[in-house]
């Protein structure tokens, strides 16, 4: 029967595909989305992640003498394929999973502890998972969306001449009407109460991402003093264009870090000059680490991305993602004394991860990112970010590093994490011991 043959054929094909991974080394799967509706951000992020790890292989022969086996699995930002990718890489003993989609992250969070594979969702995913006591296997450094929103408020407070000057101001939130987009609302609401500003909400439904004119008519009517945008994908350039159309002052329009890609601002043309976005990584190629990537990977034609895209915000963010992985691997090797580590070892490595300014300099990434520290209890670190500003052709650093309002964010993390555990009866208690920070 045809159905049977199909199944059989697939089974054979899958069986044949499996042994290919039986190679000595540290297996790092990268879930990337170079296809689909969000490929504009997915391609540079994926290449940044892969290129840094490949550069380590070329330059240093891996990490601590262990070769890195880097393999990409294409998700197309689709949850279905993400789960398929997860099952596909699971059997090959991966040390870490980078889901790169909120939906995929949410799905595999409960599996991480069972399959003993840590998840690194760099500044996305579930904010509550910053609580290491309840989520020993999930890591989301360097900052959560709540940290981001609090940095925005801190920044505008500074510009207005003090947080108390925010009283009576109008702050707009343009957000994707999905769990990801709605995340900053509770924090901004509580800050609005504390500082006396008025919060205006402007939801953008996913299907209307490229048709926002009616929403921006409302913005023009309300004339908010500042706008924060929690957006992703095609929604961002559309919003920037609409903001220009209604003559909104661009330097009062701030995007979250996923709204700060080069392709978010560039399509809007010269009018986008001044548009701000939070970022936790520098742009450009003026870092020894990026130069090494150019020398060992890109110039040899081993990158998937054209050379002129190297150094863009999202590319460098991918590099930062891999720096965190590589440093955690190094850390895990130090703790366990093993050369080839596994997922459980890497979890310990991530949990005691500290990347100091001096270490960043050693890596050839001085000032590339803020120093960050992760601990047993705090899997995020709530590290600083800065405002990047679009100068018409590229992003430039436009502010100092801004630390988040931790005292406002932490209670939210605690209650959200308690709520998650409460809703999932039988959520496992943490049994993993804490290592001393190295």
């Amino acid at each position: 029967m045809r159905l049977k043959h199909l199944l059989l054929g697939t089974a054979l094909a899958v069986a044949a595909a499996m042994p290919a991974s039986a190679q000595e080394g540290i297996y790092i799967p990268l879930l990337t989305y170079r296809t689909g509706a969000f490929a504009v951000s997915g391609a540079p992020i994926g290449s940044g992640m892969a290129d840094y790890l490949n550069m380590l292989n070329e330059r240093d022969g891996g990490i601590g003498g262990a070769k890195l086996i880097v393999e990409e699995c294409e998700t197309g930002y689709d949850t279905k394929k993400g789960v398929e990718c997860y099952e596909q890489v699971k059997s090959k003993n991966p040390v870490v999973i980078n889901p790169y989609s909120t939906g995929i992250t949410l799905q595999i969070i409960p599996k991480a502890g069972v399959d003993k594979i840590p998840i690194l969702s760099m500044a996305y995913g579930l904010s509550a998972s910053a609580d290491g006591n309840n989520f020993p296997w999930i890591f989301n450094p360097p900052a959560t969306y709540w940290d981001g929103a609090s940095m925005f408020v801190k920044y505008i407070g500074e510009k207005e001449g003090g947080l108390d000057k925010l009283k009576g101001k109008k702050v707009g939130l343009v957000y994707l009407d999905a769990p990801f987009g709605k995340e900053p609302i509770p924090l901004l609401e509580s800050l609005a109460k504390d500082y006396g500003f008025e919060l205006k909400l402007y939801p953008v439904t996913a299907s209307e991402a490229q048709n926002q004119s009616s929403l921006w008519l409302n913005v023009r009517r309300d004339r908010p003093d500042w706008i924060y945008m929690q957006g992703f994908g095609a929604m961002n350039p559309t919003a920037v264009k609409e903001a220009i159309k209604i003559n909104y002052p661009m330097d009062h329009f701030v995007g979250v870090w996923w709204a700060g890609g080069d392709d978010d601002a560039r399509p809007a043309g010269p009018g986008a000059k001044g548009y701000l976005a939070l970022s936790f990584n520098q742009t450009g190629t003026n870092f020894p680490v990026i130069q090494d990537i150019l020398k060992y990977v890109v110039d040899k034609g081993k990158s998937q991305l054209p050379k002129d895209k190297v150094g863009e915000t999202f590319y460098n963010r991918g590099v930062l993602n891999s720096i965190i992985i590589a440093e955690a691997i190094r850390n895990a090797q130090k703790i366990t004394g093993k050369k080839v580590i596994n997922g459980e070892d890497l979890r310990r490595g991530l949990e005691t991860l500290t990347i100091t300014a001096a270490r960043l300099k050693e890596l050839g990434a001085e000032g590339f990112a803020a120093p960050m520290a992760v601990s047993c209890q705090d899997h995020n670190g709530h590290n600083a970010a800065f405002m990047a500003q679009w100068d018409g052709t590229k992003w430039v650093k436009a502010s100092d590093w801004i630390a988040p309002l931790k005292d406002k964010v932490n209670p939210l993390i605690d209650s959200a994490s308690k709520e998650y555990v409460g809703a999932n009866a039988g959520w496992p208690k943490r049994t993993e011991p804490c290592d001393k920070s190295s």
Binding site: L3, K4, L6, V83, A206, E419
Partner: protein
């Protein structure tokens, strides 16, 4: 040669009217079931079960649901994804409100919620037909998607806005949640899908199925011979949505393990509709063929390319896979516009007279 009815004499009306009239067909069915229940669990590993077979069964069930409505009753629906969502959210609400009740009971019960919603949106079907009905069901899709985002009660006010599946057990063995093994999940899904397919087969071959088909072929004529249109159409909506709802609950609880509202968007509806069209309208076997072609084929292509040692980047494979699957769909539809099920039937017919066709 092997597949021939010569010598099989029917001695009763029941034998003559049987769904599987040929002995070979009955043997084939037993073999398929044997493979599904015994061979596959013995030979498959996690990836095969969790990423290929469980989703395949879930999509097959949803395709059967849509086939009842579109294939058998002739009512086009673009709300399948939303009806699946109703099932998933209902199951989530039920199991969080009454955690001690067995999860299988709730998976089946969630179908009734979906059926109720389906009937509600099926009401216009008496007045409007064809493309206009498709638009009406599209409204259901958008309205329900909106609810899944904007009604926090549905996801218990979770900050993440997603539904997360708690661990639930059956006879002491976890069947949902992260600790459930793929094998347990597979058996649960397989049992439900087989049972519901058997039920659907009895429905469409009986009085109700004939009523549906009469309405599909010409509703005016059906009305003249005494079929009441409104109850018939609404019944089709109810049962179709029931199947979709159960499929949605299975999808979230036994496959995904948690879901955002985006899972049940309009693309999901189209995905299922394509399965039904490619597989064959008005055929239960076709629903399985359609799910296999649309869902399993891309996975097979993705796995085969690296297995053959082709030095292709995963994203290139992904693009190629769209091209190949697209081309195959066009090819199959040109060869047989009535879908894979018809192709299968023709094949069987040819086999019956082989090697001396007349």
């Amino acid at each position: 040669m092997l597949y021939r009815e010569a010598g099989q004499y029917k001695t009763s009306y029941a034998a003559d009217e049987a769904v599987f009239a040929l002995r070979e067909d009955r043997i084939g069915l037993i073999v398929v079931l044997f493979v599904a229940f015994v061979v596959v669990p013995l030979t498959s590993h996690d990836f095969m079960l969790q990423a290929v077979l469980i989703p395949f069964l879930v999509f097959s069930l949803a395709a059967i649901g849509l086939n009842i409505l579109t294939g058998y009753t002739g009512l086009i629906s673009l709300g399948t994804g939303a009806f699946m969502g109703v099932g998933a959210y209902a199951c989530y609400k039920l199991t969080t409100l009454f955690p001690s009740v067995n999860i299988i009971v709730w998976v089946i019960a969630s179908g009734f919620f979906s059926a109720a919603v389906g009937v509600l949106f099926g009401l216009p079907s008496l007045r409007i037909k064809g493309f206009y009905l498709a638009v009406a069901t599209l409204a259901a899709q958008f309205f329900l998607s909106w609810c899944f985002i904007r009604v926090p009660w549905l996801y218990n006010n979770n900050i993440s806005g997603a539904i997360e599946v708690p661990t639930r057990t059956l006879f002491g063995v976890p069947v949902t949640g992260a600790t459930a093994t793929s094998l347990t999940r597979y058996f649960v899904v397989l049992t439900i899908v087989v049972a519901m397919t058997w039920f659907a087969s009895n429905l469409v071959h009986g009085r109700i199925g004939r009523m549906w088909m009469a309405v599909r072929d010409m509703d005016l004529a059906a009305e003249l011979i005494g079929i009441r249109l409104l109850p018939t159409k609404l019944l089709a909506f109810a049962i179709s949505s029931f199947y979709c709802g159960v499929a949605g609950a299975l999808m979230v609880f036994l496959w995904y393990g948690g879901a955002e509202s985006a899972v049940f968007d309009v693309n999901q509806s189209f995905f299922i509709l394509f399965m039904v069209i490619v597989g064959g309208l008005g055929s239960l076997t076709g629903s399985f063929f359609g799910a296999a072609l649309i869902f399993i084929l891309p996975i097979a292509l993705r796995v085969v390319a690296p297995a053959l040692g082709l030095p292709l980047h995963p994203s290139t494979v992904e693009q190629l896979q769209y091209v190949i699957v697209g081309a195959l769909i066009i090819f199959f539809l040109i060869v047989e516009p009535n879908g894979l099920a018809r192709l299968w039937q023709i094949g069987k017919q040819k086999l019956r007279v082989w090697p001396f066709p007349y």
